[in-house]
């Protein structure tokens, strides 16, 4: 239901993004998805990758401000409107989405998100029988 995501606090300065990516490259870690928002001062670079624990250690040892946390990862069928259906279920339960992004994995859409009420989100996912992936699905891919 959840996968591990790396969050990296980076300065809005030339070269900082490259430093992170280079470290992951040298550690032979594969990126599955990543996203970064544009802000004036700093960015939080969020990464889903093949070996999150090892990636975390690698970055931390290099002095990068990094955190490892669980985010929800739901699978969507390749049909228009699936994302809307899924978010409607959560919204109707009064759950707020803090941030969200998506990517394709083996031909299926994966919706990554964090909510303001993780316990309730878990229950809602189970009650509605929504399909999801786990860390195992990511490492298999890698």
């Amino acid at each position: 239901m959840t996968v591990q995501q790396l969050s990296i606090f980076i300065e809005n300065k030339s070269g900082t993004l490259l430093k992170v990516l280079q470290l992951l490259k040298e550690a032979n870690i594969q990126l599955v998805a990543s996203t970064i928002a544009d802000t004036v001062e700093y960015g939080i670079y969020r990464i889903i990758c093949s070996e999150p624990s090892r990636a975390y250690t690698t970055l931390k040892e290099a002095g990068i401000s990094v955190a490892l946390s669980d985010v929800f990862a739901l699978t969507l069928d390749n049909v228009p409107g699936r994302a809307a259906d899924t978010i409607r279920i959560l919204t109707e339960e009064g759950i707020g989405i803090t941030y969200m992004y998506s990517f394709l994995l083996s031909g299926k859409g994966i919706l990554i998100f964090r909510t303001d009420n993780p316990e309730r989100t878990r229950e809602v996912i189970i009650l509605n029988d929504l399909s999801f992936i786990t860390d195992k699905d990511l490492s298999l891919k890698a």
Binding site: I10, A37, Y42, I64, A67, R114
Partner: protein
């Protein structure tokens, strides 16, 4: 409880009597100095004009500029062959300032430092590690001789090489460490990286911190990090070095040794004494030094005398922790701001590390202050919470310094980290 019981427990009347005797002796001795002889002549003064402690005010101030102008030996009151040691400042802004010491000066200096270290509970059997730079910097040899005088095993680890410092602390069973506050924070970070728990893996119990103005909050943070008591030390190379004033175990103000120094607090603009208990510039007269006594030396350090008696039984006056230096003061939009005020606010936020940098710059012909501060760790991956934190810091800072700074959170390790005194202020403003 006291190393020099008689001197440490003098009553006010006894202190003043001793001070007058020593002042008169010092002034007479200063007539061996070409500089002071001329100063006295120019002002129509003779040593006989000093009949009371109040008469001290007849003597003109000595400034850092005087030391530079008379570089290197023009102020000395003994011929060079009687001097055995020389210390000097780095001299980054002009001629360095030089102080020479006789053997007696070095003995008295060691006594003063030993008295300070004893006052905070250190005894023979303690292992004292000194992370000051040795060489010209007085914090090295000053603490070395003082700690040896007290009879402690003294480790002259000197500055830098943090991993080596930590190895010494663990291998030698170091119980007391002298370091500048920003360096203690650095050491703690390295300890964390190496998996060292100071409480579990070291015998440290006492820290002596000084040479850098720091806030009470920073002291508490250091004590909590390292599991020790941290005592504030004040000294300056012109006054020998460390050992001028030191906190006792009450941790409430630094006793200044009045058998060594006469203390005045003046308004740096009017040069008149400030009312008792108010903040002003510290002015010191050495009355227990023969190589190079200084009369009414303007230290540029801002502090005040704490009112009231200290429960420790010492009547030597207590200086409040340094408020900064009169030449550190930032004037922004007509408001006087000291970096220490900013630090005090930043330290209240647990999310922040103790490393910060203040930059003053001119933007659209407006002077602005930017404060970059490192996030201790990424406690959230939510932009909203980072923005709330930034806003809160800005609001508390504005209440304290009365101008609105631009606060910027930066990742840990991205600000310059020096193992010497940290550079906290960069002034890039365009002069008119």
């Amino acid at each position: 409880m006291y190393l020099h019981k008689e001197l440490e427990t003098l009553t006010r009347a006894e202190i003043e009597k001793l001070q007058l005797e020593r002042l008169q002796k010092t002034v007479k001795h200063c007539m061996n100095s070409a500089f002071y002889r001329k100063r006295f002549e120019e002002n129509g003064l003779t040593p006989d004009d000093i009949q009371s402690l109040d008469d001290l005010q007849k003597i003109p101030f000595t400034t850092k500029q005087d030391l530079r102008d008379n570089y290197p030996f023009g102020i000395a009151s003994v011929p060079l062959e009687k001097a055995v040691r020389l210390h000097s400042s780095s001299g980054t802004t002009g001629n360095p300032t030089v102080i020479i010491h006789t053997q007696k000066d070095l003995d008295e200096w060691a006594n003063a430092v030993a008295r300070c270290l004893h006052m905070v509970g250190l005894r023979p059997g303690d292992v004292f590690q000194n992370s000051s730079g040795y060489g010209m910097f007085t914090g090295g040899l000053g603490f070395q001789y003082g700690a040896e005088r007290l009879g402690m095993l003294t480790v002259p680890a000197a500055a830098g090489n943090t991993k080596r410092q930590l190895k010494f602390i663990m291998d030698f069973g170091t119980t007391a460490l002298h370091a500048i506050p920003s360096y203690v924070t650095r050491m703690y970070e390295v300890m964390q990286e190496m998996g060292i728990d100071p409480r579990r893996d070291t015998k440290l119990k006492t820290l002596v911190i000084g040479a850098e103005p720091h806030s009470e909050e920073q002291r508490r943070r250091i004590e909590e990090m390292m599991g020790v008591k941290a005592y504030n030390s004040f000294g300056m190379s012109e006054m020998c070095g460390p050992g001028v004033a030191f906190e006792c175990q009450e941790q409430n103000g630094l006793h200044i040794w009045e058998d060594y120094y006469i203390v005045e607090i003046i308004d740096p603009d009017t040069l008149q004494p400030v009312p008792e208990g108010e903040v002003g510039e510290l002015v010191l007269t050495t009355i227990n030094r023969e190589g190079m006594p200084l009369l009414r030396y303007r230290t540029r350090d801002l502090t005040r005398i704490l009112p009231g008696e200290c429960p420790c039984g010492r009547h030597h006056k207590r200086l409040d922790r340094m408020k900064g230096r009169s030449d550190d003061m930032i004037i922004l939009k007509g408001v006087n701001i000291f970096p220490i005020q900013i630090e005090t606010v930043l330290m209240q936020f647990k999310e922040l590390s103790s490393n910060y940098l203040i930059t003053l710059e001119t933007k659209d012909s407006n002077d602005e202050m930017m404060i970059e501060v490192e996030l201790e760790k990424l406690f959230t991956d939510d932009y909203g919470r980072l923005q709330v934190l930034t806003k809160n810091i800005t609001r508390v800072l504005r209440d304290e310094i009365l101008v609105t700074p631009y606060v910027k959170l930066v990742p840990k390790g991205s600000l310059p980290q020096s193992e010497g005194k940290a550079v906290r202020v960069k002034d890039l403003r365009k002069p008119f």
